[in-house]
């Protein structure tokens, strides 16, 4: 019995292959977008983990010097005092065609557990004699690099693992090391480190540049996008499943009349849905994997550019990821199909078998939807009022968006009713009335479109606002015409003297790494100079800020630090060595994940005399002549000199990369929404024939009907777009004022970009026009034949 019944149920799909394709494609796309994003996140997280495992660094305390360097004799000295420390040399270097992070380890003393020492110890003699390791991708990127490197997947991309002596050689750090790591177990009764090495800073395990922490917000953004895409995909599935149930009501009734118990019928339909879920899920995983593989290089670039996070450009396959993706698909299918199944279970045996719009069939459902929208809006208000943190921010975003999506059909129905009342002429009246009546069938697709459009407007507005602010800020911050990187202190002194002799200004860039208010941070020195007084952008400042800074009577902090610790001008910040200092002002520092403080140059030099000058910002009226002189007379290489334009271009490039992936996902989401609309229109077009046939019989031509059908979809899409605009701007406001502040620590002013909206509207309309074109064209072409079938089939 079950077999026969199942055959009958499945025969529906054989007769409606397009509907089946839409159902599977919707589910597959939802799965693909979701699991693709998850794959990206997982890959990046795995990369962070492998970076930490390389030295087992995450779990180890470290000793660092504020200058970032110390003599390697410190290592021997502390070892001889009984401290189980290991030396590490780390630095950026150009090897072959790529800039890489060179990591030099001392395998004989490295604490156990790191994958790096394990690699080294597999063939210690060759490691000590100069054979290093790098990820195959890094090797490919470097090309010929002058080192003896072997491929190893355990080394993060962008990193090269070598013996410490070799790293000192390549980085020109002979006799110096970057830091010491402390083994977890130390002997008791040793001379305390504070006494032995008072100038070294002990950084407890887990603090410092924790990549996973820094990049969390980035991944949360991706996840939110993935969920949005999944939701949009579910709208497709929901409408396809609803339609399939409705069209088979007659069949259900017949089957039950012929003695198939309701329970069996429900079970069969559940099995059918599970089957589709598995099929579509598998397809979606393949698509998601491909999508992730396609996007990963961009994500990797973003993460590397933003945080220096080592993410490989090639994707691994992870079975857990696949299982989770499939589970998500089945859950989505259950959500989409559960409602239809529930209706079936509560359907009276002899309910009318005529297709009726299920959403319309019950005004209760509409009321429930409106009530849910109101509840979600209230929840959003509550979150806005009392919520805190990034997760609450995203919850607020989700609640607000869903509320808007749910209330939209109600508003659209109202607008259509108004239009119908204003309409003159029978066709116009019919047009509006019919649009209103068919709204429930299209509303899911329109809601998906709304979400996609709003996301586009919101994210687009955020990115554009960010970009506009960022460019203005760059112009203020990058005022120096030329930047020079000295190779050593002697050269730094030469550059300073040379530039001073030419009557031009050399502004040193010096910094030490520090922990400020428990966060990884950097302290910079700032010379008292008109360059900063006139240009340095401030968000909030005390009067006489520059004089007080120059006199060493306070510090400037960046917005991130101000936000995370609730500091403002006049508050007091405790800095290493300097002690408690008043905050003189807060400046914007877009794109920097770290906290930052700025002191006057004299104060800095007095406290950190050893901090090397990392860079000179040179002011010059004739920058090209200065660059030429630096090269010709001082013998600087072109690699040491960057001009202003290049620096800006580099900063902008990093910025663009940050949102590259956002843009790609935006486009994908919009495509899915367009597909949802297409699916809805296509499935609807079959049923529409019955409604259109009388009009044909009454004397409207099939072409006119096709035109009206297309017009209806475009009008509904246009109304959705109009509604999406305020929703998108609300989203942008939430992103700028809530999410960004929580995730990155900076707040941006919202700017409006109507030209972008126009472009988006044109694009969306084009998408809708494409979606409506096929069904309308079919009606146009086959109208008479198809319409006649309605009458011919009536008997």
């Amino acid at each position: 019995m079950n077999r026969a019944a199942l055959g009958a149920l499945l025969s529906h799909w054989a007769r409606h292959p397009f509907q089946l394709a839409m159902l599977l494609m919707g589910l597959a796309l939802a799965t693909a977008l979701w699991s693709g994003v998850q794959a990206l996140n997982a890959e990046a997280r795995a990369a962070y983990a492998s970076a930490e495992e390389l030295l087992a660094d995450g779990g180890l305390a470290r000793l660092e010097h504020p200058s970032g360097r110390m003599p390697d004799a410190e290592f021997g000295r502390l070892r001889r005092a009984g401290w189980m420390v290991s030396a590490v040399v780390e630095g950026r270097a150009r090897l072959g065609q790529a800039r890489v992070t060179l990591l030099g380890i001392e395998p004989l003393s490295a604490p156990a557990g790191g994958t790096g020492p394990a690699l080294a110890q597999a063939d210690l003699e060759s490691f000590l004699s100069g054979t290093g390791f790098a990820h195959p991708q890094t090797l490919a990127e470097m090309g010929d690099n002058g080192l003896d490197l072997r491929p190893s997947g355990a080394v993060p991309v962008g990193m090269v693992l070598v013996d410490i002596a070799q790293a000192q050689d390549v980085l020109d750090m002979r006799g110096q090391i970057t830091r010491l790591t402390l083994a977890p177990d130390q002997r008791k009764g040793l001379t305390p480190l504070a006494e032995l090495a008072p100038d070294l800073t002990l950084i407890p395990p887990g603090e410092g540049a924790d990549l996973a922490g820094l990049t969390d917000s980035f991944h949360l953004n991706l996840t939110a996008f993935g969920l949005l895409a999944f939701a949009v995909g579910l709208f497709i599935v929901h409408s396809a499943v609803g339609l399939a149930f409705e069209q088979r009501r007659g069949l259900f009734r017949s089957l039950r009349a012929m003695g198939v118990p309701l329970r069996n019928l429900c079970a069969l339909l559940g099995a059918e849905m599970a089957l589709f879920g598995l099929l579509a899920g598998a397809l979606g995983l393949v698509l998601g994997y491909l999508m992730a593989a396609l996007l990963l290089p961009d994500v990797a670039l973003s993460l590397r550019g933003l945080y220096g996070a080592p993410v490989p450009g090639a994707l691994q396959f992870n079975p857990v990821w696949a299982a989770a993706g499939l589970g998500m698909t089945l859950a989505g299918m259950a959500i989409a199909g559960g409602q239809a199944l529930w209706r079936l279970a509560h359907l009276p045996l002899l309910a009318p078998a005529q297709p009726r719009a299920w959403a319309q069939a019950s005004a209760r459902a509409r009321r429930a939807q409106a009530a849910l929208a109101v509840a979600l809006a209230l929840a959003a208000l509550g979150l806005a009022q009392w919520g805190g943190g990034l997760v609450a921010g995203f919850a607020l975003l989700a609640a607000a968006l869903l509320a808007c999506a749910l209330i939209m059909p109600v508003l659209l129905a109202g607008a259509l009713a108004l239009a119908g009342r204003a309409a003159r002429g029978p066709v116009a009246q019919w047009f509006w009335a019919d649009s209103r009546q068919n709204l429930p069938r299209l509303s899911l697709a329109l809601m998906a479109l709304l979400l996609a459009l709003a996301a586009n407007i919101g994210v687009g507005t955020m990115v554009s606002s960010f970009r506009a602010t960022f460019i203005g800020w760059l112009d203020q911050r990058l005022v120096a015409e030329v930047n020079v990187i000295p190779r050593d202190p002697a050269e730094a002194a030469r550059i300073r003297a040379f530039v001073a002799a030419r009557g031009e200004a050399a502004l040193p860039v010096q910094r030490v790494d520090a922990t400020l208010a428990g966060q990884p941070a950097q302290i910079y020195a700032m010379k008292d100079h008109a360059t900063f007084r006139d240009n340095w952008p401030m968000l909030d400042a005390l009067p006489d800020l520059w004089d007080r800074l120059a006199a060493g009577k306070g510090v400037l902090i960046n917005e991130q630090l101000a936000h995370r610790d609730g500091l403002g001008p006049g508050d007091v910040l405790t800095l290493p060595q300097l002690g408690a200092m008043p905050v003189l002002g807060v400046y914007p520092d877009y794109g920097n994940p770290l906290a930052q403080a700025v002191t006057g140059l004299d104060l800095f030099a007095a406290n950190w005399p050893d901090a090397p000058v990392r860079q000179y910002a040179l002011r010059s009226d004739a920058p090209q002549a200065l660059i030429a002189a630096l090269q010709d007379e001082l013998g600087l290489s072109s690699g040491q000199i960057t001009d202003q334009a290049a620096a800006k271009a580099m900063s902008l490039a990093i910025f663009e990369r940050t949102f590259l992936i956002t843009g790609a996902l935006n486009l994908l989401t919009l495509s899915v929404a367009a597909l949802a609309l297409f699916a809805a229109l296509m499935t609807l077009s079959g049923m529409r024939l019955v409604q259109l046939a009388p009009l044909w019989a009454l004397g409207l031509t099939p072409r006119a009907l096709a035109g009206l059908e297309a017009l209806r979809a475009l009008v509904l899409a246009a109304m959705t777009m109009i509604f999406a605009l305020p929703v998108g701007l609300m989203l942008a406001q939430l992103l700028l004022a809530v999410i960004n502040v929580q995730a990155f620590g900076w707040r941006l002013p919202m700017q409006l970009f109507p030209a972008d909206w126009a472009r988006l509207a044109a694009g969306a309309w084009l998408a809708v026009a494409l979606a409506v074109a096929l069904p309308a064209w079919r009606l146009w072409r086959d109208g008479p034949r198809d319409l006649l079938k309605v009458f011919a089939h009536e008997r």
Binding site: V427, A697, L698, P702, R795
Partner: protein, 224 residues
């Protein structure tokens, strides 16, 4: 007599080659204003096809279909639709009404399409059809008999020269069907419209002025 519908040697076949079925073979008939003709025949005898051809919903292979002197078989789609709008009222077993419009709007729809809407006439029609109290309702809220009354009202509201009805009572019980048919006959006669009724029921056919029978694509005299 004023000939409203005149068919001359209308031929129609479906399919191709061996599978070709000749549905209509040189069918000719005349129907005058105020006259009613019942077209009977077995299922598949081509009754509905003949009706569709008369309405311009389907083209004929050969022959003339003159409606008030215009050969609808020679019309293009636009012209056929215009002719249908202005001169033909169609009533089917199902699918007559526009679900998104209420009864009043449905009644007025074709008349307004043909720019021939007359509120007084329509109200009168509605009253005579006994649906005057249903004007604000939607089709789904009506019984089958009520729906067909609205369909007849809508088709007569345009004051058509030709009413084509395809089993208009096929979905109704006998008593309701009889009263609906009586109304249709009476009102079309009063309006001077010619009525072509396709039915398989001899009982209903007997109520018409004339009868014709389709058998194997050829038209013969109907039972009297």
């Amino acid at each position: 007599m004023d000939q409203v519908l005149r068919l001359r040697d209308v031929t129609k076949s479906f399919g191709q080659g061996d599978a070709r079925i000749e549905v209509l073979r040189a069918v000719s008939l005349d129907l005058g204003a105020g006259q009613s003709l019942a077209l009977t025949g077995e299922s598949g005898s081509g009754k509905s096809t003949l009706l569709h051809i008369c309405a311009g919903l389907e083209p004929a292979d050969q022959g003339q279909v003159l409606i008030g002197g215009t050969d609808i078989a020679r019309c293009d789609d636009v012209a056929a639709a215009a002719l249908r709008r202005a001169s033909i009222g169609l009533v089917f077993q199902h699918f007559n009404l526009i679900p998104s419009l209420n009864v009043a709007a449905n009644l007025a729809f074709q008349a307004r399409l043909a720019r021939r809407h007359d509120a007084g006439f329509q109200a009168d029609l509605a009253a005579r059809l006994g649906i005057g109290h249903l004007l604000a309702r939607y089709p789904e809220q009506l019984s089958g008999g009520q729906q067909q009354r609205v369909a007849i009202g809508r088709c007569l509201a345009v004051r058509p020269r030709l009413v084509l009805a395809d089993e208009p009572t096929g979905n109704l019980d006998e008593a309701t069907g009889d009263s609906v048919l009586d109304l249709m006959l009476e009102l079309s006669a009063q309006a001077g419209a010619a009525l072509l009724l396709v039915t398989h029921s001899p009982r209903l056919a007997a109520r018409c002025d004339a009868r014709a029978h389709l058998r194997a694509g050829r038209l013969g005299p109907g039972a009297t």
